[in-house]
């Protein structure tokens, strides 16, 4: 958080982006597809980290923001035939507006009550999706047809179902969100968010309207998660209620805990690691939730700072 070493931090982040770009040309097809998915979900984790890591607000309902983006984009394409950019914008707007409404209500509480309230609002959102099954496809979900997933840019058109296009689109979204996150946490606003996390009462007595600052953080976090959801719908073509279930509120928490709370690259590392652990172990057991459960407990017990958090503490103090 200090004002030193900005060049190092930016160089590291650009290096990670360049590495992901290069990987596109060497990875075998299976891992290529998996990594595209991981990058999109890492955006979800980054949005979650914005609120959990930097403001210290532990939400158990972020699946609703992800699926607001997912359904906002998916349904406008599916039912109204909107273009890809318009659908993406619709998803983003749905997430941001929902986050604003939820933030106004849930931020009246704190601590454990905040966790339960966000979980309940997310449950309502999930049930609403099931209730309007005629529109949303209920628990079967909807498959967005391939012709609707072509991005027309002037005279050129990009087919988002093409693996390379999909990978590069995922990378583009990931890179933008990563750099935006980095800029936010290094900004004065980021410093205020950390201050709220450390001691909200004290921050108020420095003249900050902490409620408004937290509300803005909820909206930014919700919008990032919605961007991830919207991209998921458009790139992978599936919109389903399972993405709104409580499990998808827990997963970003797990990814962030694993990668490192309040680190900019932690969400990517956590998502990547968890995906490959599940991928490797699924050869031996179908009980993937068992691994999630054990990982959660081991992390809070022995490794509360996560992978990057520990590295930052031991060796690289300048990591953002």
């Amino acid at each position: 958080m200090s004002e030193a070493s900005p060049a190092k931090a930016y160089a590291l982040h650009l290096g990670v982006i360049a590495l992901l770009f290069a990987l596109s040309f060497v990875l075998p097809a299976y891992h290529h597809g998996l990594l595209a998915r991981i990058m999109v979900l890492a955006v979800f984790a980054m949005g979650y980290n914005m609120l959990f890591g930097y403001v210290g607000l532990l939400s158990l309902g972020h699946a609703m923001f992800f699926s607001a983006g997912l359904y906002g984009a998916g349904l406008t394409v599916y039912h109204f035939g909107w273009s890809v950019p318009a659908a993406f914008a619709a998803g983003l707007a749905c997430g941001a507006l929902l986050a604003l409404a939820i933030g106004l209500l849930a931020l009246r509480t704190s601590g454990v009550a905040f966790m339960i309230v966000t979980m309940m609002f997310a449950q309502v959102f999930y049930l609403v999706i099931l209730y309007f099954a005629a529109w949303t496809g209920g628990d079967q979900g909807l498959v967005v047809p391939q012709p609707a997933r072509i991005l027309v840019l002037g005279s050129a058109s990009l087919d988002l179902t093409n693996p390379t296009v999909r990978y590069m689109s995922a990378l583009a979204l990931f890179s933008i969100v990563l750099l935006v996150t980095l800029a936010i946490v290094r900004s004065r606003y980021g410093r205020v968010l950390v201050a709220i996390r450390e001691n909200e009462g004290r921050t108020k007595m420095l003249g900050y309207d902490t409620f408004s600052n937290k509300l803005a953080a909820v909206v930014v976090s919700g919008a990032i998660c919605a961007a991830s959801g919207a991209a998921y719908a458009l790139l992978f073509g599936y919109v389903g209620s399972s993405f709104a279930s409580v499990q998808y509120s827990i997963l970003p928490l797990l990814w962030v805990l694993l990668g490192g709370i309040a680190t900019t690259l932690g969400p990517l590392i956590g998502t990547l690691f968890m995906y490959y652990v599940v991928d490797v172990t699924s050869g031996y057991t179908s009980a993937y939730l068992l691994i999630v459960g054990i990982a959660l407990i081991l992390l809070v017990l022995f490794f509360p700072k996560g992978i990057l958090g520990t590295i930052r503490q031991r060796w690289l103090g300048w990591l953002p």
Binding site: T109, A113, I116, Q123, L290, G293, L301
Partner: protein
């Protein structure tokens, strides 16, 4: 059937739900009240109770009543033991930090659920009721067993209430709930109280599950709804208040029974969850709790 008898049937069903819910929610409420731990795995202790009841009553299949009685005693004991181990290995090491324990109990939820799926399987299995006497009302017959659930639950609730208000154990628990540090300074073994409360809370959920399993079958995902409903009850009743918990359980059980007879269950859940979230936002001390200010 006319509207009146229909409503009576819905109310009876609602009371059975309330009876089971009150026990389950009381367990959650005690754990939160005394330990300040939100136990997200509470529903899984409920599920374990039901699954164990099936296993025990299948093993002792001489007579349904014998198997059921054995389950009623053994299943809660086993669940209590599991809870005790979990408390020892995880919650105590986290020093009961509220947020860390939520994450850890989410982990427990997944572990218990997956182990149940692995060893018990995805099927829903019935447990035979200990007796099958039907009470004949002028409009319909009603299961005597269901009425006995209400009686059993009432008995357990009163017993718990007596323990909490009239015995030294209750006093020690209330002292710990009121102020952990001071209680420790007065020589109360806080860690043992916590372990006991956590195990007892899990046992209440397990008893509730054993009682309900003859009418609703055992399934590895059956813990989800009781968890949500228990949260609702505990929040509306006021966190940590026994009387509020019982009143709210009856209220929720009855309205759940009645609403789901007349409306879509999904819509009923949406409305109930939304209302409860609003209670938590605007009246965090619960509808029946008194303001701490």
């Amino acid at each position: 059937m006319h509207f009146g008898p229909h409503l009576l049937l819905a109310a009876l069903e609602g009371l059975v739900t309330s009876a089971v819910l009150a026990l389950t929610a009381l367990g959650l409420s005690l754990v939160f009240g005394v330990m300040r731990v939100v136990n997200v795995a509470h529903g899984e202790f409920f599920m374990l109770g039901a699954v164990l009841a099936w296993a025990i009553s299948t093993a002792i299949s001489d007579h349904p009543a014998l198997g059921f009685l054995a389950a009623l005693v053994l299943a809660p004991l086993i669940v209590g033991l599991i809870a005790l181990v979990a408390e020892r290995l995880v919650l105590r090491r986290l020093n009961y930090n509220p947020e860390a324990t939520i994450v850890a109990t989410i982990g427990m939820l997944y572990i218990i659920q997956q182990l149940a799926l692995t060893f018990y399987g995805p099927e829903a299995r019935p447990v035979e009721a200990p007796f099958s006497y039907r009470i004949l009302l002028p409009w319909f017959g009603y299961s005597g067993y269901k009425l006995s659930i209400i009686a059993a639950s009432a008995f357990l609730l009163i017993a718990t209430w007596l323990v909490l208000t009239r015995t030294k154990i209750g006093l020690v628990m209330r002292a710990t709930q009121y102020d952990r540090e001071t209680a420790q300074a007065f020589g109360i073994p806080v860690e043992r109280v916590y372990a006991g409360v956590f195990a007892f809370g899990a046992m209440l959920a397990a008893v509730a599950a054993v009682l309900i399993v003859p009418i609703s079958q055992a399934h590895y995902l059956m813990g989800q709804d009781p968890l949500l409903l228990s949260f609702i009850v505990v929040i509306i009743g006021g966190l940590g208040s026994l009387r509020g918990t019982v009143v709210a359980a009856v209220l929720i059980g009855l309205s759940d029974g009645i609403i789901s007879v007349f409306f879509s269950p999904t819509l009923a859940k949406i409305i109930a969850t939304l209302l409860v979230a609003m209670v938590l936002v605007f009246r965090p001390q619960g509808l029946f709790g008194t303001s701490s200010r």
